[in-house]
């Protein structure tokens, strides 16, 4: 059990918490908030973050729904295996199913952040009986050049800009990487609290874990992802940011079109709308999940 320093206060404390596992010896930590009829599972993020990155959604959504959060393998209170294969997409799918089983949740509505869109897609197409709706927030489903090129470029003398998305750099100067990432995720004035939260989460893990987690998580090929998206039967929401030069935008439109889902563009906002403009994000999520729950 990984003990973290207690947080000063939380807007909503979990009504239930625990660990789930599915036979590979890795335990993932989950929380349940609220007791609404319909359940939302806020999927684990890339393990630079923890489930606490949903902190500005949970207290609001749990007034209307039952909300489950899951710490990703590699950060938060989940275990930190050190082999890439422990971070496969299939292992993450099994984590979420194990959490749904542990919380006696037959079906859940999912929300994913950025590259964990691939996890949401896998759950929706491989386990449609467990998935009631999917919200893909700034989705990435396939590997994209801006991040793949520097990640596979090997050791360099110096690392500028996106060069910093590089395992050798993470090992040499993890804080430098966290700062680079955080300052692009939160470039707007008055983001000091969001920057501090990201720091708190990023330093609960270490570069070695983040490297194996990033190598081990298998993304889709573009054509495969869009073909699978076309088979999703549940309601789909895809969000994209208007004012965001950080996340690549080549996924949201094609995903919305392929899945027949609704595309919502946050005009002028981004990159991390849920943390920096939680009201805007929460209203969109609530409206989508409420209509999906009603349709079910």
């Amino acid at each position: 059990v990984i003990e973290l320093a207690p947080e000063p206060t939380r807007a909503h404390y979990p009504d239930q918490e625990g660990y789930a596992e599915h036979g590979d010896g890795v335990r993932v930590f989950y929380e349940v908030h609220g007791d609404g009829d319909a359940t939302i599972c806020l999927l684990p993020p890339w393990p630079l973050m923890t489930s606490r990155s949903w902190r500005s959604q949970v207290p609001y959504l749990c007034r209307h729904f039952r909300v489950i959060t899951v710490d990703p393998r590699g950060n938060g209170r989940s275990d930190r295996p050190r082999e890439p294969r422990a971070y496969s997409r299939a292992a993450h799918v099994a984590d979420v199913l194990a959490v749904l089983d542990a919380t006696a949740t037959d079906r859940a509505m999912l929300a994913s952040i950025s590259p964990r869109a691939a996890l949401a897609l896998a759950l929706a197409v491989e386990h449609p009986e467990r998935v009631q709706a999917v919200a893909f927030i700034t989705p990435q489903l396939w590997r994209i050049g801006e991040f793949v090129r520097p990640f596979t470029a090997g050791r360099r003398e110096r690392y500028d800009g996106y060069d910093k998305f590089n395992p050798s750099y993470w090992k040499r100067d993890y804080e430098g990487f966290v700062w680079w990432f955080a300052s692009r995720a939160f470039p707007h004035p008055h983001s000091t609290r969001q920057l501090e939260h990201l720091y708190e989460e990023a330093f609960q893990t270490d570069p070695e874990t983040l490297i194996v987690a990033t190598i081990g998580f298998d993304m889709y090929e573009r054509e495969e992802a869009l073909a699978l998206a076309a088979t999703i039967r549940s309601p789909v929401l895809v969000t994209q940011n208007g004012g965001d030069a950080f996340w690549p935008k080549d996924t949201s439109g094609p995903l919305a079109e392929a899945s027949g889902g609704r595309l919502h563009v946050f005009e002028g906002l981004g990159p991390v709308v849920g943390a920096r403009w939680p009201v805007a994000m929460n209203l969109v999520l609530r409206e989508f999940f409420a209509s999906a729950a009603e349709a079910a």
Binding site: P189, H190, T192, R193, E196
Partner: protein, 306 residues
Amino acid sequence: MSDYRGSPAVLPTTEGDVERDGVRVHYEIYGEGEPTLLFLPTWSIAHSRVWRNQLAYFGRHYRVVVYDGRGNGRSDRPADPAAYEPLQFALDALAVLDATGTEQAITVSLSAGTAWNLILAALHPERVAAAAFVGPTLYAVCEPFPDWSKTPYNERFASYDRFPGHNRYFIGEHYRDFVAFWNRLCFPERHSTRAIEYGTGMMLDTTPEVVLATLDTPGLRDLHSAADRLAQAGAQLQQLTGEVRCPVLVVQGALEQIAMPAWAEALARDTGGELVILPDAGHVPCGRKPVAFNLLLRDFVKQVSR
């Protein structure tokens, strides 16, 4: 002023001007009902938007009257230092009460507004149902004094890099640096960038000439330091507290960098009021910790309106 309200949470139901001795003061009314809360101006480095986080909340429950103090906002900026004596601010408050048809109000002051709030409560008790003092500065009735107040006020220094206090030439010739310095003192809480931005904006809505005029009121101009000015103001105000009969609330932030805790304690003691210390708050709890402050003030309003 290009952006007086920004994008406000609520707009006033009524607004208007009241004029005394050729000085025009602009007021706004939010909401309706009983009682009326009169949010008083503070030092003219700020204007009525210093209460921006109170207007929507209290306007939903009560009637709120707020106005720009002379020297900032949409009020006039007289050049004569005599126009900025505390009594003039108190007379403006009475004129605003008259103009808005308000017989009696619960008065709320911030920082330097202590002076006119005390004058109103002590000398015009029929107009003040209860008085709340937030971050009271001018009730400087005892040692120690804060470091910022001890720098010589009228002396010209060779350098004003990182100057640590009140000084005529720092304010007059290095106003932007003074603004930055003063906002840092006002907002010691973490994650205060937005509050500092608002504070900076309000300080730039007036001029260093006006700020100097407010500090050069008759009898204060030649005093050695801000500490001496504070001590004189404190001695004068303390004579009034015996006259205060209404319920009093004093609110002070535990992280306060501008006023001393002993002054708030003395004000509560001398007026028979209640002192509440807000944890994690600095000089402007109404701006930086609005939820905690609003709930506290609402409890006080409920208690005194029974």
